[in-house]
């Protein structure tokens, strides 16, 4: 197990290193940030000073090592647009994204699991077919367009909900969150629904597949033969059995929700990290881009590592094969 663990950790480190080089070089290739930052009328002297200050006169490999050295000291650089440190910039935007992701995951679960269970319980019924058709729509219709339709319907035409931005922020226990105020909820509702649709489609399909499989399983037939009521079979036996794979896949999907938030946050002008990365790409804010991407790579590598280790824990065949 130790050998396996060390092997996996080394692999993860190599992946992070390679990806950080690719990201650094790739981002370096995008435009010249100096042209964006400096007023074209500025004197040559100011230009050169700034170039030196940001280290752009150095060769690329030295810039990379300076960056890595700073990262290990906890310094991700300064945003060229906001002129504050990237770390505090990202952390100031993170709560908004986490709020959005949390609410949307809750919506997807609360609607998706019962809908999927019903679709698997009565596969032939019209309601089940409607549920499945909706899940196909949730999968295939582009998120940003659904978001736009929501804005048109509920904000522009009906005027029930605000069309964008984060609402009033209140205090809940120790947290500053917009979920503590009614206005905050009004703002978070539409983006959260928009972000939840894809997850919901996935949830419905997973639950339905598990349900259909379970309905034909031995233990369900046995429970039926015992004369247990359907309600007890479904909620007592089947739900417990199908919940583990659903939770696993869902945990994995949490990371990708962060990525999908990029689209939703742009549509609803939600001030989270997704909006931050889009803005920094459009404004050529290199330090923010590089730091965000390296953080995302780190996040996904850690998720992968955790999955591998959990599987190894559960399945001795993987563990015993060693570090392959």
């Amino acid at each position: 197990m130790v050998g396996y663990l060390v092997g996996r950790l080394l692999q993860a480190a190599v992946v992070v290193f390679v990806m950080s080089v690719i990201v650094f070089v790739g981002v370096y290739a995008i435009g010249n940030p100096i042209d964006v930052m400096i007023d074209p009328g500025a004197s040559q002297e100011i230009r050169e000073n700034l170039i030196r200050q940001y280290g752009f006169d150095q060769p690329l490999w030295r810039q990379y090592f300076t960056f890595v050295g700073n990262v290990f000291q906890g310094d991700l650089g300064r945003s060229m647009v906001y002129n504050i440190s990237v770390t505090s910039l990202v952390f100031s935007r993170l709560p908004a994204t986490l709020e959005l992701v949390m609410v949307s995951v809750c919506i997807a679960t609360v609607i998706g699991i019962p809908a999927g269970m019903y679709a698997g319980y009565k596969p032939g019924s019209i309601a089940a077919k409607a549920i499945m058709a909706l899940s196909v729509l949730g999968f295939s219709v582009p998120t940003f367009w659904i978001g736009m339709l929501l804005i048109m319907g509920f904000a522009v035409n009906l005027g029930w909900l605000p069309s964008g931005g984060r609402g009033e922020i209140g205090q809940f226990l120790w947290f500053q969150t917009s979920l503590a105020t009614g206005d905050g909820w009004a703002h978070v509702l539409m983006p959260a629904i928009n972000l939840s649709l894809f997850k919901m489609g996935l949830m419905i399909r997973l639950t339905r597949a598990g349900m259909v499989e379970a309905m034909g399983a031995e233990y369900v037939r046995f429970a039926r033969a015992q004369g247990l009521p359907d309600r007890q079979i479904v909620f007592g036996h089947i739900l417990r059995n199908i919940s583990i794979p659903i939770i696993t896949v869902f945990g994995l999907e949490l990371g990708s929700t962060l990525a999908f938030a990029v689209v939703t946050e742009t549509v609803f002008n939600w001030p989270g990290v997704g909006k931050l990365i889009i803005d920094s790409i459009l404004q050529l804010d290199r330090p923010v881009m590089v730091s965000y991407l390296v953080m995302v790579v780190l996040l996904f590598v850690m998720i992968n590592l955790a999955v591998d280790l959990i599987y190894a824990r559960l399945d001795p065949r993987i563990r015993l094969k060693g570090g392959a």
Binding site: Q11, P142, L149, V262, I303
Partner: protein, 308 residues
């Protein structure tokens, strides 16, 4: 469509009658779902209308000389200075929306299909190489593919598109980077199973070159699941491209695509000019859903578990 018999999984060397027969069988299974048939018809109509756009619509929406600022923001159904009815209205520079949508649809199809074909080719090469040679090559390649699959395609495409800049070629490349892994995984999965079968062993014991075994013997037998993945990936490429253009890293409005049209229309939704973003979106949605429905039915038909 002519070689769809190929797609159902028989090797190309099979006699012609068999191929025609399989094609007929495939079709008779396929048409059991009227929704899938309708979806196929919709796709064909969309393809014909978008590629025939220059002959069908009254205006070349990207020829600035044909645009008249006086025609800006006409409601759907109004007649402009050109003397014809703008069925879907006009945009902020007086562009006929129907013309723009069909031209945009053509770009979306071109991008979706070329990204799909390139990603398929790359994915097949990587998947087959890994499955056939095994060992370290397999471990390395599949590790990369798995890592990529764990990241959302939209994020990869976004990053690559941001690095490469705007343009059709750049977008296609970004989509290929984001999507080839799905093909590689599917090919690898199917090919690892096929590889252990006797016919491959037999072929390997003859002096046939590796290339021939890979492409003439192994590939035809791993094609069926790939066809399904390819259909779904073309749809997702079209919708990814639209998303990227919407986010501002895809195509500029000077190069028509459904995404850039919707993105342009998005600026005016508060001004009560919803037709600018609704109509291109409707075309996008219909196209993507129709392709997915066709893919679903093809999956059902060629799945051996469903065969009679």
């Amino acid at each position: 469509m002519a070689d769809i018999g190929n797609l159902t999984g028989n090797p190309p060397s099979a006699p012609l009658e068999t191929r025609a027969l399989r094609l007929r069988n495939f079709w008779s299974d396929y048409r059991k779902s009227w929704i899938a048939v309708l979806a196929l018809v919709v796709i064909i109509v969309m393809v014909v209308a978008s590629f025939g756009a220059p002959w069908l619509v009254p205006q070349d929406p990207y020829d600035l000389a044909q645009l008249d600022w006086g025609d800006a923001f006409l409601q759907p159904g109004e007649t402009g200075s050109g003397g014809y009815v703008h069925l879907l209205g006009t945009d902020n520079v007086g562009r006929d929306m129907l013309s723009a949508i069909l031209y945009g649809l053509r770009t979306s199809f071109l991008i979706g299909i070329s990204a799909g074909v390139l990603a398929l080719t790359l994915g097949i090469s990587i998947g087959l190489t890994a499955a056939y040679f095994g060992g370290r090559i397999e471990a390395l390649l599949m590790r990369i593919v798995d890592l990529q699959l764990s990241m959302p395609a939209i994020l990869l495409a976004l990053v690559v598109a941001a690095m490469l800049g705007q343009g059709v070629g750049q977008i296609v490349l970004a989509l290929v980077v984001a999507q080839y892994a799905y093909f590689a995984r599917t090919t690898h999965g199917a090919a690892s199973v096929e590889r252990r079968k006797d016919y491959i062993e037999a072929a390997r014991s003859t002096p046939l070159p590796t290339r021939r075994i890979l492409f003439k013997h192994l590939l035809p037998n791993v094609l069926p699941p790939l066809i399904v993945v390819a259909t779904v990936q073309v749809a997702s490429a079209i919708s990814l491209e639209a998303t990227l253009s919407f986010l501002g890293v895809g195509l500029p409005l000077t190069e028509p695509s459904l995404g850039s049209l919707i993105s342009n229309g998005f600026k005016y939704i508060h001004a009560g000019r919803s037709w600018l973003s609704i109509y291109p979106g409707v075309f996008l949605m219909i196209t993507v859903v129709a392709i997915n429905l066709v893919g679903d039915q093809v999956r059902t038909v060629i799945d051996p578990r469903n065969s009679r």
